[in-house]
Symmetry: C2
Subunit: 269 residues, 2 copies
């Protein structure tokens, strides 16, 4: 048993909660960890709650009842999110990122763990009330932001493969038509990766026509899973009509002009 | 400016440091954020330092000098790491995970963000002093633990592809021989993903004969990059002789027996 002072207890408690977002800890857990009365822990929780609220560092929720306790919810404030997305746009609106075929080099940005974590928190904030059981993404580039979304929501990630790999066991595969290239492609997923009837949140890095997202919707239907949301980091203005209806996009790619060497991406939340 | 009490300040300071591992914050930053004197912040840092040490929640380091400040280092204690790895083994040593060809289904485990984060912290603890500039992994399954390692070290992740994708721009590709299947395969990486002369840490989920790791070493040589470490979550006992010399493996796969339906994986740190 470790005896801490009040200020130390509050700090340790907040760190433990914050390291494990959306995970419920009982007051008893902290009471035993710190060797303090439950009423003391209750006060400490109140203090920690006040700190994160005042500093816009998320929120702490108390869950009453027998299975109750306390949990930390990462909440990205709208103001901070937009400020962060504007900064991302500045980095993205750099014409040296242009790759022939109007593609955009952005691996360095989405593979920056700090960026991925921030994006994950924004998605988690948006979709927290949807009570998803799984985050689903398709390899490869969406994985970093999808994993960080899953971390913020405290739910597992499922990675859909573009080929059926031998190390995944029995798989379910579907063919889908890429919305922009009109090519038939395959995506597959291990049969045991999702229990039927799951609620899933689809997260990806990029949406053009929405063919991949539509494919993921169809694949989820094979599992009788309910898709409770689709989040993408960047979607393109064109085509305006996507192959999926409802999606939440953080950034909008307005224009890519190879001639004038211009990229225009703006926040869209 | 937000006025916080001492216990609130210490908690907020620790949360901010802990959310941004291995990132240096100046005392001035906190001084302005909290509207408190630098000497007060200094005391708060001392308190936070004491908390994480007493609770084995990592460490806080003070960097003296003009470019100095304070940073949080996630440190997984050996005791906690082994306890965690034993728990992982219990989950992995379940013969229903066996897939024909002596493969092991473990996507659910490495795609659990909490597990990936813990594994990342263990790798980060092991390799922190190597001063790597990049974590490098190869798609797909190693990405989750590699990203979390990169997060704990506060350095970017680079994902090597098994095909050269059109959205990556100019790429460098190499052929390599898979150590166990003896098939020739390709791996490629965007030319702009790594500046020449970088120090890289290779992280992957699984090593059998080490052919993939050897391929990554060769690919890094093309960039004149120095590989300062190789970390894998699981390595197999057989073949004993790997195609790479020095590697750090958290778990050892001793035996997979399809007949007796037995898997034996043990911690190897």
């Amino acid at each position: 048993m470790i005896r801490l002072k009040r200020s130390e207890r509050v700090a340790a408690l907040l760190k433990i909660l914050s390291d494990n977002p959306n995970q419920i800890f009982t007051l008893n857990y902290f009471s035993e960890l710190f060797g303090a009365a439950k009423s003391t822990i209750s006060e400490d929780v109140g203090t920690a709650k006040g700190v994160v609220e005042q500093m816009s560092l998320g929120s702490i929720e108390t869950i009453p009842g027998a299975s109750g306790g306390v949990k930390y919810k990462p909440l990205a404030s709208n103001e901070k999110s937009i400020e962060f997305l504007k900064m991302l746009c500045e980095e993205l609106n750099d014409y040296t990122r242009l790759i022939p075929g109007k593609f955009l080099y952005m691996a360095d940005i989405i593979c920056d763990p700090t960026v991925a974590a921030r994006v994950g928190e924004i998605f988690a904030t948006k979709f927290m009330d949807k009570k998803a059981n799984y985050v689903v993404t398709i390899e490869t580039k969406g994985i970093t932001v999808a994993l960080m979304t899953a971390r913020a929501l405290n739910i597992p990630l499922v990675i859909v493969r573009r080929d059926s790999k031998v190390t995944e066991g029995s798989t379910i595969s579907i063919n889908y038509v890429s919305g922009s290239s009109h090519r038939i492609q395959t995506m597959s997923i291990s049969k045991r990766s999702l229990p039927p009837g799951s609620k899933v949140l689809i997260i990806d890095d990029f949406m053009k026509a929405g063919g991949t997202a539509k494919g993921l919707l169809d694949l989820m239907a094979e599992f009788n899973s309910e898709v409770v949301g689709i989040g993408v980091l960047i979607s393109t203005d064109e085509p305006e009509e996507k192959m999926v209806g409802d999606y939440y996009s953080l950034l909008k790619l307005k224009q890519v002009d190879e001639l004038s060497k211009q990229i225009i991406i703006v926040p869209s939340i």
